[in-house]
């Protein structure tokens, strides 16, 4: 993939091991990856940087995933960026709340490598179709 046309994915997870894993998978697939360990610093970046997709964990110290989603909605530049949740939080209330806050998909850890890549591609295609 030509680096100019590479899609950029923002990973937000407080676990460095998870970030390493997701980055390794996505780089293999030809994506650019930018990593954040908490919601607040990722949100600050979104003021002047627009990734193609955000992969977001929910349970994080400080600003959690839900708070991040609420704040992101208020950012003019960032409100259209699709978000895919990747979390160990396995309950229907969280999924419902996340979907209400506009996420394109909700994945529960653990997920396999191929499944993860497929879901990333689906999310990107969905958002491209919506924005076309």
């Amino acid at each position: 993939m030509n680096s100019i046309h590479r899609k950029t994915i923002m990973l937000i997870d407080d676990s460095s091991t998870n970030n390493f894993l997701h980055k390794s998978i996505l780089v293999e697939e030809g994506f650019n990856v930018i990593i954040f360990y908490d919601g607040a610093s990722a949100l600050a970046k979104l003021n002047h940087f627009i990734p193609d997709l955000i992969v977001l964990d929910l349970l994080m110290p400080g600003m959690d995933g839900f708070k991040f989603l609420e704040k992101k909605k208020q950012l003019k530049l960032a409100m259209q960026i699709p978000v895919l949740i990747l979390t160990a939080k396995h309950n229907s209330e969280s999924e419902l709340l996340a979907k209400k806050l506009g996420v394109v998909d909700y994945l529960i850890k653990p997920v396999g490598v191929k499944y993860f890549v497929n879901k990333i591609q689906d999310a990107l295609e969905k958002s491209t179709a919506i924005n076309a």
């Binding site: 998978i25 293999e28 396995h90 850890k109």
Partner: protein, 389 residues
């Protein structure tokens, strides 16, 4: 003449009969009054708070038990006066239930807090029923109330513990999913790319898989120990053994983790024989040293020492890691407050380990305590009885 005589006898007889009847009625009137007073006294002395309301919902009677409980007069309680001593948070639901039941002529029972004469709110269970007079006409409501504060406090404590347990299981579920997500993902990645990855990258992935597996294993082990503790299903077999040996055995277990963070683990314990359950002591030591590694940055140092004082030994695990604030320190052994924090290398934890340690030390007639300073490090101490003789 004879007729008159007969009439006067008859009148006298009638007067006599009437006098008898009068005496009889008087005697019974006294009985009725006494019976009424007796029933009233039973109400007054009944070991429950009793109230009565008229057909307009206004209370017009409170027994002595009620008045002694609130320390107020009948006049103060009349009408809706009683509501002044109901806890503000319970007042609306209490009045709503009362009015709704009253309007439907249905019985009710409800719980609320009522202030007693000492100013303390007590939990009251109030059973209200409509009552009907001798003509079977609706005459209002009558109610009896019981102070069930002790069982309510137990119920609230139980609920609190249950909520804490549910929160803990949610956290454990989360903390187990996370390392397994890493283990499965990293091993799949390695499997898919084993031929194309460099030696360096493969080694790095293997290390990460190992650390995630260890983290999941430690959590699982603590969870199982905790479950055994909760069900009182834990074997307790104290015996004499060398606590120094237990510490050295634990060192083997934790050395790899210490090495990945380049942490120096110094163990300085001579032969000290204690009388305790060896498995429990191993768990305590393993948890304390693992925690020290978790909260000590790369290149740090951990010292494990032991001192005997009279008939006890005090083991200390000291690190020069991140330490704790007083706020965290005070919550450390309380499952409900759950102060678990991440380690310096992203290690996860539920806070369960220290709770298990505290219980185990207690079962072995010892104590566990901590000294810590934020950004300077922590010292965990535990005591055990010496195995004398």
């Amino acid at each position: 003449m004879e007729v008159l005589q007969n009439q006067s006898i008859s009148l006298l007889d009638q007067i006599a009969v009437l006098e008898k009847e009068n005496a009889f009625l008087k005697a019974h009137q006294v009985d009725i009054i006494r019976a009424k007073e007796l029933y009233l006294k039973i109400f007054e002395d009944f070991p429950a708070l009793i109230w009565r309301a008229n057909t307009e919902k206004a209370c017009d009677y409170f027994n002595r038990t009620w008045l002694e409980f609130t320390g107020r007069t009948m006049e103060q309680e009349y009408g809706y006066g009683w509501a002044e001593y109901v806890h503000p948070d319970d007042l609306k639901p209490c009045v709503d239930t009362y009015i709704a039941s009253f309007d439907k002529r249905e019985p009710f029972d409800m719980e609320y807090r009522l202030k007693n004469k000492e100013g303390e709110y007590r939990w009251i269970r109030d059973y209200g029923r409509p009552f009907y007079d001798l003509d079977n006409s609706f005459a209002g409501y009558i109610g009896s109330c019981y102070d069930f504060t002790d069982s309510k406090i137990n119920e609230l404590k139980l609920k609190e513990l249950n909520d804490a347990k549910n929160r803990l299981f949610e956290t454990i579920g989360h903390d187990l999913h996370n390392p397994f997500h890493s283990i499965l993902g990293l091993s799949e990645l390695l499997m898919l790319n084993i031929n194309s990855y460099s030696q360096e990258k493969s080694t790095d992935l293997s290390k990460k898989i190992f650390n995630s597996t260890l983290s999941a294993y430690k959590l699982l082990e603590n969870l199982l120990e905790w479950a055994k503790l909760q069900s009182n299903n834990i074997a307790f077999s104290p015996k004499k053994f060398d606590v120094g040996n237990s510490i050295l055995e634990t060192k083997e277990f934790v050395n790899i983790t210490a090495a990945t963070k380049n942490i120096r683990l110094n163990i300085n314990i001579s032969n000290i024989i204690v009388f305790a359950d060896q498995n429990m002591v191993n768990t305590i030591i393993r948890n304390l040293i693992s925690n020290a590694i978790k909260y000590t940055p790369c290149g740090g140092e951990i010292n494990v020492t032991a001192n005997t004082i009279d008939d006890i030994v005090i083991v200390m695990v000291q690190d020069n890691g991140v330490g704790m604030s007083d706020e965290i320190k005070n919550k450390l052994f309380n499952l409900q407050l759950h102060p678990s924090a991440k380690g310096t290398n992203d290690e996860k934890g539920t806070g369960l380990g220290l709770i298990i340690c505290k219980e185990f030390v207690k079962m072995n007639k010892g104590d566990l305590w901590v000294k810590s300073e934020l950004n300077k490090g922590s010292q965990f101490f535990f005591s055990l009885p010496l195995g004398q003789g």
